[in-house]
Structures are given as structure tokens and as C-alpha cells.
């Protein structure tokens, strides 16, 4: 082991090294058990620094994460049984695996449909949705009761979640309840449009797309409630000039099919 690499364990534990050093230190730790233990302790200490950063995440994040998890295959456990490795601390994994980890998991692309139990926990934080509605320039109804109605959709026993990754990043999630005849559309992290463009959401019934709402210019995330979902086959998102268009401009940024 080189003294130089060992001196970097602190910086490594803080993720304050460049990728080459990261690989080198992981190799070092792999060959030095006592160093690996020191590194584990450093990581444990460093993680405490996050104790001071708690913040309430948006409700839509939970639904999106759980929807993605449902379609993500888990890694096989480490084959060398007595030493299950810990991500980011072992060089034992293949370079290819490391690379794929650095890139992060592929977002589930294409159309996904699944049932998802949105239970009491979801209901409890649905109030967090209230602020989100300010981001919409056009709302199908007046604002005050939106939050309650979104909560009702999320808590509906027949709530179904459809999720699609958008070309270029971000995702669109639709949580719909046939019983309530309503759906919540969650647009998350789409590419930046610039201030003179905006995303527009469409409800497609048969061959006819009807505008469901236009996001504020430049916004890449938003949440909205759609009434009268029976008959809607697809929820689609397009990029339009600020203020929206009477008909969608192709190509679609994302489309989420719903079961009629």
C-alpha cells in the first residue's frame, strides 16, 4: 500500500476524489483489511453529516421510485460468500459493473403498467402536494380543493400507476382511479426547455388529443389532476411554445397508455 493512497482515505470517504483516485483507493482497500475497516468507519462518520440535511421530499417522488423499483431487477449477491461486498467500497466487482454503477441504473423506458398499493402513508403526505399546483398555468378546476382530490386519487383502492421514461431524461407517471374517474399526472425532471417553451399535457381519446394543461414556461416538473378519465387511452406530453398550442407538436416527449 502506498502512504499516498492511504492519506486519501478521508477525501475518498467524502467522495472528494477524482474517478482515477477512486479506483486506486478501492484497489488499495481491497488489499488491506485494516485499511478497509478504517474506511468503513470513515464512511459511517461521514454519513452523520447528512443528519443535518433532512427535508420533506415531494410525494410524487415516492410513487415514481416505487414504480421504477417494481421494474428493476436486483443484482445477484456477491459470489464469494463470506464477504458480501458493499457498493462503492470494493474494487472486487468487475470494471464493467463499476461503470454501470457510475452511470446509474437505466431508467425503465417504454410503457409500464402496474398496480401499486398507495396506502395510508401516501395519504399522510399528500398534503405536501398543495404547493405543486401553483406550477400550473391552466388548471381544469379552481385550486382550493385540488390537493384533497389528488389525495383521494392516491388513496383510492383501485389506484393504478403507469410510468414511462421520457426521451432525453425525466419521467411521466399517471396514477389513475377508474372508480373516481380521475387521474393524477406527475411530470418529473424533463429536459430544460428554455423560458420561451413549455411542456403541454394531452389526454388522447380515439384520434383526438385534448389539452389537459400547459406547464409554466421553462418548468420541467409539475403535477396535475385530470377529471373524466374514462375513455382516455393515452396521456401524452409535448414541447410547445410558451402558453401551449391548440394541437400537439410532434414528436411526443412521452406517452403513457392507460387501460380504457
Amino acid at each position: 500500500m502506498s502512504t499516498d493512497d492511504h492519506a486519501l482515505i478521508g477525501a475518498w470517504a467524502l467522495d472528494a476524489v477524482d474517478p482515477d483516485e477512486r479506483d486506486r483507493i478501492q484497489g488499495h482497500l481491497d488489499s488491506c483489511a485494516s485499511c478497509a475497516q478504517e474506511a468503513d468507519e470513515m464512511r459511517e462518520t461521514v454519513a452523520r453529516l447528512a443528519d443535518s440535511t433532512h427535508a420533506d421530499p415531494p410525494m410524487r417522488l415516492r410513487a415514481t421510485v416505487l414504480a421504477r423499483v417494481h421494474h428493476t431487477r436486483q443484482e445477484a449477491p456477491a459470489t464469494r460468500a463470506p464477504e458480501p461486498e458493499r457498493p462503492d467500497t470494493r474494487a472486487a466487482r468487475s470494471r464493467a459493473a463499476r461503470l454501470s454503477q457510475r452511470r446509474g441504473p437505466r431508467p425503465a423506458m417504454g410503457h409500464r403498467r402496474l398496480r401499486l398499493a398507495l396506502g395510508a402513508a401516501g395519504l399522510a403526505v399528500a398534503a405536501a402536494f398543495a404547493g405543486v399546483f401553483a406550477t400550473w398555468s391552466l388548471l381544469p378546476r379552481t385550486a382550493p380543493t385540488e390537493s384533497d382530490r389528488v389525495s383521494a386519487v392516491l388513496a383510492a383502492p383501485d389506484a393504478e400507476v403507469a410510468f414511462t421514461g421520457a426521451e432525453g431524461g425525466g419521467s411521466v407517471t399517471v396514477i389513475s382511479s377508474a372508480g373516481l374517474d380521475q387521474a393524477v399526472v406527475v411530470v418529473s425532471g424533463l429536459p430544460d426547455t428554455g423560458a420561451d417553451r413549455a411542456y403541454q399535457v394531452w389526454a388522447v381519446e380515439g384520434a383526438t388529443p385534448v389539452s389537459a394543461g400547459v406547464m409554466n414556461p421553462g418548468d420541467s416538473s409539475a403535477t396535475m389532476l385530470i377529471d373524466g378519465t374514462s375513455g382516455i387511452e393515452v396521456i401524452a406530453v409535448t414541447e410547445e411554445p410558451a402558453g401551449g398550442s391548440p394541437t400537439p407538436t410532434l414528436p411526443l416527449v412521452a406517452d403513457v397508455p392507460l387501460d380504457a
Partner: protein
């Protein structure tokens, strides 16, 4: 030494949702193990426990709420994907998850820097409010007070180096530039600072 076990479990994040608090004796470690066996309900509970921590950390580092959400998505899916590789003997579930999230956030910030990201500069104007909210949400937590108190035991240079690296997402070389200090000095101050922090947090248990 950091010993794992009851202490860690007692200090776990309080469930953030009143609807699930008090009815669930599971530790993050046991939830992670169940998630590793494909139990999505266990993962959902783990998400509820850890998401405020993970989101708050990502928000602190990337600053832009929309990007923070994306990073949390990536991190939590990674937690699910690699739950099979978690080893309780080597550290707590909370630290393991935090490590994954921090790495993702830092990678995002560095790639954004490389791309000369313009969106972040625009978003910076609206950041202060979010930042206050973050601080407020964390206020009053015992763990937070311990960390803050222990950070004060570090020398000024140690504290600045550690916090610029961790919350700022900077490399130690960048930290040296920011502090106008020699790179080897920063490298060793970071390590010394973390050792002091570790000993202080250990003593606070």
C-alpha cells in the same frame, strides 16, 4: 471504533410519516434485508424512513429541487438494485444508503460542472428558500446537534475542508483552491478532521 448494533438502531431516523410511526419495530437493516429478498413493501417502508434524509442531502448538494428529485430516484433505485450486497457487519443501513445518495449527487454536480450547466445558475436564485426549509426541517434533531457540536471541535481549516467537500461536492483539489491552501495540507486536514469528528461522535453516544 464504530460498533454496530443496538446503538445504531436506536439512533435511526424517526419514521417521517405519522401514519407509519409507532406500529413498525423494524430496523432499517432488517428492512434492507427484506428488500434484498424482493420484498417491495419492505422497500417502501425503508423509503419512508430514509427519503427525507436522502432528499435533503441531495437538495443540499445539487440545490435545484428538480435535479435533486432525479438524483434521489437514481439513488433509491440503486439501493433496491444492490440491496443484495449490503453487509451489516461493515456499517449501518443508514450510512450505506447515505453513501450511495451522496455519490450520486456528487456525480451529478461534477458532470453538471463539466457541462457548464446553465440551469443550475438560474435555479440558484430560488435556492435560498429551499435551503431555509432544509435547515428548519433538520432543526431540533438530536443527531443534528451532535454533528454541529462535533464539527465545532475541528480546527477552522479542518471544518471548512470537510464541509466544502461533503456539502459542496468539491474534490479535495478544488477545496484547496477555494481555501487557497496547499493540496497536501487539505488532504491531511480532511483526514484529521474526520478522525476528530469520529471520536467526538463516538463519545457523544
Amino acid at each position: 471504533m464504530f460498533e454496530q448494533g443496538a446503538h445504531t438502531h436506536r439512533r435511526e431516523d424517526r419514521p417521517h410519516l405519522s401514519a407509519v410511526s409507532g406500529i413498525d419495530p423494524d430496523t432499517p437493516e432488517s428492512l434492507l434485508h427484506r428488500a434484498a429478498l424482493g420484498d417491495e413493501d419492505a422497500f417502501a417502508m425503508l423509503y419512508d424512513r430514509t427519503a427525507p434524509r436522502v432528499y435533503g442531502l441531495c437538495l443540499r448538494i445539487v440545490r435545484d429541487p428538480a435535479q435533486a428529485e432525479e438524483v434521489v430516484q437514481e439513488a433509491m433505485v440503486e439501493v433496491w438494485r444492490t440491496a443484495t450486497r449490503f453487509d451489516e457487519r461493515r456499517g449501518s443501513a443508514k450510512a450505506w444508503i447515505t453513501t450511495i445518495a451522496h455519490r450520486k449527487a456528487v456525480d451529478r454536480v461534477r458532470s453538471a460542472q463539466a457541462a457548464g450547466d446553465r440551469e443550475r445558475r438560474v435555479a440558484a436564485e430560488s435556492v435560498e428558500v429551499e435551503y431555509d426549509q432544509v435547515a428548519e426541517a433538520a432543526e431540533g434533531r438530536l443527531e443534528h446537534r451532535q454533528v454541529r457540536r462535533c464539527l465545532k471541535t475541528l480546527t477552522e481549516l479542518q471544518r471548512q475542508a470537510v464541509t466544502l467537500a461533503y456539502y459542496g461536492g468539491h474534490t479535495y483539489g478544488q477545496v484547496a483552491t477555494l481555501l487557497d491552501a496547499p493540496v497536501p495540507t487539505v488532504k491531511s486536514r480532511i483526514r484529521d478532521g474526520l478522525i476528530k469528528l469520529r471520536d467526538c461522535l463516538e463519545a457523544a453516544r
